[in-house]
């Protein structure tokens, strides 16, 4: 017995010693997480990384805080803040815009996250060990896409913040000595990326019909972005050429006839583009160049998460009026679901922008009137109390109307986001032509676009930068990041003061230095081994 027990103990001791000697016992192996070195190896992995990149990109509109979309619109000529969520407040009261601004910080972080994910792809695809089984054409198209997103992010950053640190490789170790590149360097960097992208990205038919993933970036999208960047670089001739490439590609056409899910119901061709279910090329939208997709309650689309408003698109919340606060005006599809009217179109945009008969100002595109849907006055037109016209019954663009009965509260927005469409191509081309003083060409370009909306033709003498910016507002309000357009054209301060500074002094305090956002203070603080120069006056 005694011997047996000693023998038994001996085995136990030996077994634990054996465990100690077994080197793999202390090794770590990733068993439930991917890593760049094992995904960025083949086409499936690179496709997944591109999908991840689009996901990150879409987060500009699907992250917190809700008021972020307002930052791009209030304190400009376009909109006033009526139910601020908080983050947009310094953009109505510019004196309060400081280096600890939340909006500036969120946008900055978002853009560099996109850059980083793009860098991982660009870096890995150049490694010969990762090129097995992929054609050069495929590899270049992947790299082109990644470079497109990187260019988009740097264009975003350099418009909003000026010259920013340029990172072209994934960071592998902590780095705290970033320095700002000059605006010119950044623009040249973007142009290099986009020239690669315009050369190597697939055209939209290939993406739609062969890859069958319409949300992927096509060559024309890269050309459109390049056109904008060429304008910034002072190369409007090259910009004009890029726009012509798109227009002449034959892939796209302005929407001039009714189509899609509501084509037999009241509406017009312009409003058809913004009906949920009509954004994608395969849904009949031939004007769209690049669309970010969302889908009700599909993983990756926009999962219905009660109690959780993030991560989800908040366009409807910030644009649609808070009509639900009016007794008798009920939540409905036709009114566009539940809105909070975080902002309201400026009086200039509502009452001074459109000439009569402009389709873009039709009742299908800007909701101005309301009718009772329940209660004693059902069916009657609502005569609003003047105070209620501020946000409860304010006129609003219907571009973000979206209603899903199961999500009456509207936790998420389930409508696709049109990133680029041919309408904007004409506007960019007109701008490029105007810059070259080709006013006749510019007028013709603008008239092509205006004709779709039944707007009266203009004369070459009518073409000014302000007119082009007005036309952009008419066409792209609530689609473009208005702030970026005005900063890019240098007109933010001027147009804000002249067109939209009468409401409670919002925007009235804007100073020329507010053209640029502050570099986030925390970035300056963390970047301790080099100085990240703050923009002036912050």
């Amino acid at each position: 017995m005694k011997k047996l027990i000693i023998y038994f103990s001996g085995i136990l001791i030996a077994s634990t010693l054996f465990l100690g000697c077994n080197k793999s016992f202390l090794n770590e192996e990733l068993k439930s997480t991917y890593a760049p070195q094992n995904t960025l190896k083949d086409s499936l992995g690179f496709d997944a990384a591109i999908t991840g990149l689009i996901f990150r990109f879409r987060q500009q509109w699907t992250g917190e805080p809700q008021g972020l979309i307002c930052v791009m619109n209030v304190g400009t000529d376009l909109a006033i803040s009526v139910q601020p969520q908080g983050v947009e407040v310094p953009y109505t009261n510019y004196a309060a815009l400081n280096s600890q601004d939340q909006g500036a910080s969120v946008y900055w972080n978002w853009a560099y996250t996109v850059v980083n994910n793009a860098n991982f792809i660009i870096n890995a695809i150049h490694d010969p060990s990762n090129q097995v089984g992929m054609t050069a054409t495929y590899r270049n198209s992947i790299e082109g896409e990644a470079r497109f997103y990187r260019a988009w992010a740097y264009n975003f950053l350099s418009i909003l913040y000026g010259g920013v640190p340029l990172i072209d490789k994934p960071i592998t170790a902590p780095k705290t000595d970033f320095v700002r590149a000059t605006p010119t360097d950044v623009i040249n960097f973007i142009i290099t990326d986009l020239l690669f992208a315009t050369t190597n990205c697939r055209d939209i038919d290939y993406i739609s019909n062969v890859i069958k993933r319409e949300g992927r970036v096509c060559k024309s999208a890269a050309q459109q972005l390049l056109a904008e960047v060429y304008i910034r670089a002072g190369k409007s001739d090259l910009a004009e050429a890029q726009c012509k490439n798109i227009i002449n590609s034959g892939f796209f056409q302005l929407t001039t006839t009714r189509y899609g899910v509501n084509s037999t119901k009241p509406g017009d061709p312009f409003s058809d583009m913004f009906i949920t279910g009509n954004q994608r090329r395969r849904q009949g939208n031939k004007e769209a160049i690049w669309v970010l997709e969302q889908e009700y309650n599909v993983p990756g689309g926009a999962i219905f998460q009660p109690g959780n408003t993030t991560p989800s698109d908040q366009h409807r919340r910030v644009w649609v009026a808070r009509y639900v606060d009016i007794t008798g005006v009920d939540l409905s599809d036709s009114l566009g679901g539940r809105g909070l009217a975080r902002m309201r179109l400026s009086n200039w945009a509502l009452y001074g922008l459109y000439k009569p008969n402009d389709m873009r100002n039709s009742r299908f595109n800007i909701r101005r009137n309301f009718w009772y849907s329940s209660g004693p006055k059902v069916g009657q037109k609502v005569v609003p109390n003047p105070a209620d016209t501020l946000y409860k019954l304010c006129p609003y663009t219907t571009k973000w109307n979206n209603y899903v009965a199961a999500d009456a509260f509207g936790y998420a927005d389930y409508k696709d986001i049109i990133m680029m469409r041919l309408g904007e191509t004409y506007l960019l081309m007109a701008e490029a032509q105007f810059n070259q003083n080709h006013l006749t060409d510019a007028a013709a370009t603008l008239n092509t676009l205006r004709a779709r909306s039944n707007a009266t033709p203009i004369l070459p003498t009518d073409v000014t930068l302000d007119f082009i910016l007005d036309e952009r507002a008419r066409e792209l309000m609530a689609e473009e990041n208005r702030r970026m357009t005005l900063v890019r054209t240098g007109k933010l301060v001027d147009r804000t003061l002249t067109l939209n500074s009468s409401y409670q002094g919002q925007g009235a305090g804007i100073k020329p230095y507010n053209m640029l956002m502050p570099i986030p203070q925390s970035e300056i603080d963390l970047n301790k081994n080099a100085t990240l120069t703050q923009n002036p006056n912050y």
């Binding site: 016992f25 770590e28 949300g215 003047p386």
Partner: protein, 1088 residues
């Protein structure tokens, strides 16, 4: 002395007696003195007698003896019953003594043979002894002393005056006097009828054995800082886990209960925060086995026999990479040999909310709304914001939401344990059920636990044993939302016409649904822990002092959480989720010890080799869009949208440890230890192993000869130690760069993408804490004053830090070994017996801890890290913010326009600390830290007769925390606000609270506030039934108590509780819960 005197007297008496033959005098004498000792002098002699008497009377026997010998019997017939029948066998040759002892064996007759032939009989009287028990030092009488007849369970206790009287069976009786805190005294009665006893205080608690890492040690031999938790903290307290009882009771240990939700756990920090990103939790070791999965909820406080806290670098060094946050050793109760002891303990009582943070009354709510509208330049059309409120406002109908979400709570615990055993097999088994009904509707906690601890000596050289337990923790239930309840309008609508919860009380303020809707959800939160520890201990007889122990432990720790919310909870499609986590953990330890004493040299050597592995598997199911709410969680396949997830993590540890304890003459003590650990989560590019050495010295000064002159000094010991320990407490896989998966849609169909998620750091290694500890243990005046003073200074380097990176990197942070912190502190514990009389005593236990934490280095360039709020020379958890000096008033508008142009009148006015006449981020300064400057606890115990009153007060001072409760302005148009915070208006012109303007806090000011507090933590009044009563009832022990907890809090904090972390925001936070006071009645019953 008395005894000797008495013997002499007896001798004299005998001499005198032998010379006198006067029967009457003898009888008189015998009757007065008692016959006790006289027989001793009788010379025995042989006699031949033939007696074979069956069923004869004693009288008949006397006649027979008198006939056959020359002995005569002398007795008083009124005292001696000679008619009793006896049996005597055939005797033959015998002595008269043998004969008589047989004859009177079963009688109460006492005999004495006088002058060789006269047998004097007297009745054998039950003798009574009385006396007084006093303290040997003070002379004060001691009540409640147990006076036991040795060898029996019979006895009495001294009365309030210290007096006792006891019946003894015979003159040979030995009385045993015992009382807690005194050395037991044995006194032979030896014929005395008055025995006064003086008890000496038991100052030899120093011989107590305490549990240390991988073994036990005599308290007097300790060299490190090992604090035992007072026994009074381990019983008669209505706590759901033992950490709650620990709070404030042990110096150097800071326990913070961030939430009071039933079943929630506390954060424990021993001797300050070393680490920044890695866990600061101490290592818990249960019955010798390090706890790697499960929580302190899994250890039933009733099963705990002792808790020791290891604090200094030398005591924790033997736990290597897991030691630097301190170690808490918990021993559970084990069986002892003897009759089974059955114990039943229970308590029960109500709970109620305390520190209520009241929302505004209906009138104040309306005033606030109107003011907020005005201050936001909005046109006021109504007194209340929403349609449904208007109706209620018009009707004067209000709802007290706090009342609606709360209820009286109730807590109860029932524990039954049986322990006992033989010399070779001992057992302790227990079962317990704890149930806590929360003060908020829907909150509850129920725990069922079982334990079986068995020890068996298989042979004289081998012992085997087990510690097995099973715990079922259950916090099921959908619950109300406290935060939202405080935000609801008093004019909101609680119920619809059918009596169901009205979804949106302030229609159409849909962001704020009914705070009671959670009650319509079905939720489970279940954690079980099945643990088995097995040991084999072998003491080979061929090497004396050598011992080998094999410890094997296995824990299975599954967690099951699920929830279903459907239409009745304002979820229009129905959403279900189930998540399962399974944690498996095993450990194998080989421990070899060797003890040797050579004269005055004592040596003890311990060696360890161990391996441990921990695996976690998790999976989750989500589904939504159900046809209706009938099936809830039971058929998730019925949901139109289904998503799943799963995960796996593993970590492993291999360790070797050696320790030598040496002592010379119990005066000079030395401990040397070293541990080497290898951890899987480290060193993908560096070493996985680290070694942690330590040395400790002790000097029992009071054992020196030259100290004998200081008789008031009972004990004096000086200790010093230096050691290194580590912290490995980071998640596995931090050395690797990883990607997480995300989903996107193409043509409405899901596709999986990967995004960069973690920047790995292949050079990661453990953080190291090295430091010194100096301590003095003292005891004076016969134990009236005793205590410990300790000073320590520890430095932690290579901090495992989740260091924020510039977002330009694309990553927000990375785990890194950077920086150094330092903790310096002083700990004082003091025990005094302030007052002691026969009926009444008063004892005080006090502990005080002051810890200074500071960051001494960050990146080696002597620069602060503003982004992370780490400042060289300042403590961690720094509050770095503006200094609020008031509110901008209309009169200062001109100054405001230049100093803070973004501000409006009514906004917060900050100090221009750099005096550049403009308020900007440069004006932020270090204001304090959320780490307390000092903490303490004081326990006063009063005893009066069988009553004991225990009052425990706990304090935490010097805490500065951001107070989110004050940051409300951005929702002030919509929700109700706390009553006590207040706001600025153009007429009241507060200089402390800002206006209700949306966006009025554009600088992200965190409202730092003083969160210091003192709390009457618990008061217990107990009554122990005297043994004399219990003996009659055949009960081993019985006590009853009333105990109250969280009775009152002294604090300046505005909020639910300064200690709790309360999260603001409209999403549901399970941990938002008020602090509760409870009052319980308890009973402890022991059967033998």
């Amino acid at each position: 002395m008395k005894k000797i005197l008495h013997n002499n007297l007896t001798q004299k008496d005998c001499v005198w007696l032998s010379n006198t033959f006067k029967v009457m005098r003898i009888i008189l004498l015998l009757l007065t003195l008692g016959l006790s000792n006289i027989y001793a002098t009788v010379h025995s002699q042989s006699l031949n007698i033939d007696l074979a008497l069956k069923n004869v009377t004693i009288k008949q026997a006397f006649e027979n003896i008198e006939n056959q010998t020359n002995y005569k019997f002398l007795f008083r017939s009124d005292l001696i019953n000679v008619d009793k029948s006896v049996n005597l066998e055939n005797t033959g040759t015998t002595t008269i003594n043998e004969l008589l002892s047989k004859l009177f064996r079963d009688t109460n007759i006492k005999y004495d043979v006088i002058n060789n032939n006269l047998i004097v009989l007297s009745p054998l009287q039950q003798q009574r002894v009385r006396g007084t028990v006093k303290d040997a030092n003070t002379g004060v009488t001691i009540p409640g002393v147990t006076v036991l007849i040795q060898g029996t369970t019979k006895g009495v206790t001294t009365g309030a005056d210290g007096k006792y009287s006891v019946d003894i069976p015979n003159a040979n009786t030995v009385l045993v006097f015992s009382f807690v805190g005194y050395l037991p005294e044995k006194v032979s009665v030896a014929g005395k009828s008055v025995i006064d006893v003086q008890l000496n205080p038991d100052i030899k608690t120093l011989d107590e054995v305490v549990v240390v890492g991988y073994g036990t040690q005599k308290k007097s031999d300790l060299t490190g800082s090992v604090t035992s938790v007072p026994q009074s903290r381990l019983k008669e307290l209505p706590v759901t886990n033992v950490l709650q009882a620990l709070q404030g009771s042990v110096s150097g240990v800071s326990v913070v209960q961030t939430s009071t939700v039933p079943g929630s756990l506390s954060n424990v920090i021993i001797r300050g925060v070393n680490s920044i990103s890695a866990s600061s939790n101490p290592l818990y070791v249960i019955d010798g086995v390090p706890l790697m999965s499960g929580s302190m909820n899994d250890i039933n406080p009733n099963d705990i026999s002792s808790i020791e806290v290891l604090k200094d670098p030398s005591s924790v060094a033997i736990y290597g990479t897991r030691g630097s946050n301190g170690v808490i050793l918990i021993s559970t109760k084990r069986g002892t040999d003897g009759k089974p002891v059955i114990k039943y303990s229970a308590y029960a009582g109500p709970e109620s909310m305390v520190n209520i943070f009241k929302p505004m009354s209906p009138q104040e709510y309306v005033r606030k709304y109107v003011t907020a509208m005005k201050q936001n330049n909005l046109t006021i059309t109504d007194s209340v914001p929403t349609a449904s409120e208007k109706a209620n406002y018009a009707a004067g109908k209000t709802v007290d939401w706090l009342k609606e979400v709360s209820r009286p709570g109730f807590i109860q615990d029932h524990n039954l344990s049986i322990s006992g055993g033989t010399k070779d097999v001992k057992y302790f088994v227990s079962g317990d059920i704890l149930s806590q009904k929360g003060v908020l509707k829907g909150y509850q906690y129920r725990r069922i636990s079982f334990r079986a601890n068995i020890d068996a000596n298989v042979t004289n050289w081998m012992t085997v044993g087990t510690s097995l337990f099973f715990v079922d923790n259950n916090s099921d239930g959908g619950h109300v939302n406290l935060m939202q309840a405080t935000q609801m309008s008093p004019y909101g609508t609680e119920y619809d016409a059918l009596g169901n919860y009205f979804m949106i009380p302030m229609t159409n303020q849909t962001l704020y649904p009914n705070p009671l809707l959670g009650l319509n959800t079905s939720v489970t939160r279940q954690t079980k822990n099945i643990s088995g520890n097995f040991y084999v201990e072998i003491k080979p007889d061929f090497i004396k002092g050598l011992k080998y122990k094999l410890n094997a432990g296995y824990t299975f720790n599954p967690t099951y959480n699920s929830s279903y919310a459907g239409r009745s909870a304002n979820n229009l499609i129905g959403s279900a989720t189930i998540s399962n986590t399974q944690n498996y953990n095993w450990i194998l330890e080989n421990i070899l010890t060797y003890d040797k004493t050579l004269g005055k040299h004592q040596i003890n050597v311990t060696g360890l080799y161990s391996a441990q592995e921990n695996k976690t598997l998790s999976n989750g199911l989500n589904a939504n869009t159900f046809i209706n709410d009938q099936l809830t969680l039971n058929n998730m396949g019925a949901g139109a949208v289904q998503t799943v997830s799963s995960g796996f993590t593993r970590n492993a540890l291999i360790s070797q440890m050696g320790r030598v304890n040496y002592s010379y003459a119990s005066k000079y003590l030395l401990t040397l230890t070293a541990r080497r650990d290898g951890y899987s989560a480290f060193g993908s590019a560096t070493l996985k192993y680290a070694t942690f050495p330590s040395v400790a010295l002790g000097w029992n000064v009071s054992n020196e000869k030259f100290m004998k002159q200081f008789s008031f000094l009972d004990n004096l010991k000086l200790r010093g130690s230096y050691g290194k320990s580590g912290n490995q407490a980071i998640q596995p896989y931090q050395t690797l760069s990883t990607q997480s998966t995300v989903q996107y849609v193409y043509n409405g169909t899901s596709a999986t993408g990967v995004v960069a998620s973690q920047l790995g750091n292949s050079g990661l290694t453990w953080e190291t804490t090295a430091g010194i500890n100096l301590g003095i243990d003292y005891m004076v005046l016969g134990g009236r004053i005793s205590g410990t003073v300790e000073w320590y200074n520890t430095k932690t380097s290579d901090l495992l830090l989740r260091r924020n990176l510039p977002n330009i990197s694309g990553f927000a942070n990375i785990m890194d070994n950077i920086g150094k912190t330092q903790n310096t502190g002083i700990e004082i514990s003091l025990k005094t017996v302030n007052f002691q009389t026969k009926d009444f005593s008063w004892e005080t236990n006090l502990n005080f801890t002051a810890n200074t934490n500071k960051v001494t280095s960050l990146y080696g360039d002597n620069k602060d890290d503003l982004g992370n709020k780490w400042f060289i020379g300042k403590p961690l958890q720094a509050v770095y913010d503006y200094q609020l000096i008031g509110i901008w008033q209309q009169s200062d508008a001109a100054l405001m326009a230049t100093m803070d142009p973004g501000a409006k009148v009514g906004d917060m006015r900050f100090k221009d600390t750099d005096d550049n006449k403009i308020i900007n981020d440069k004006d932020r300064v270090y204001l304090g830290s959320s780490l307390p400057k000092w903490i303490g606890g004081i326990t006063n115990t009063f005893k009066y007769k069988d009553f004991r009153l225990n009052i425990f007060i706990q304090t935490v001072q010097g805490v500065l925390k951001g107070n989110p409760a004050i940051n409300f302005a951005d929702q002030s148009l919509v929700i109700n606000l706390p009553e006590s915070v207040g706001y600025w208006t153009s007429t009241n012109m507060s200089n402390t609270s800002q206006s209700l303007r949306t966006g009025g806090n554009s600088r992200g000011y965190g409202y730092p506030s003083d969160a210091s507090y003192s709390r009457i933590k618990d008061v217990t009044l107990s009554y122990t039934f005297p043994q004399s009563i219990l003996d009659k009832l055949k009960i081993g022990g019985l006590s009853m108590y009333l105990s109250g907890r969280n009775l009152y809090t002294f604090t300046k904090w505005k909020g639910w509780d300064p200690e709790n972390t309360f999260t603001f925001g409209y999403t549901d936070n399970f941990n938002n819960y008020p602090n509760v006071a409870n009052y319980v009645f308890g009973i402890n019953l022991t059967l033998r």
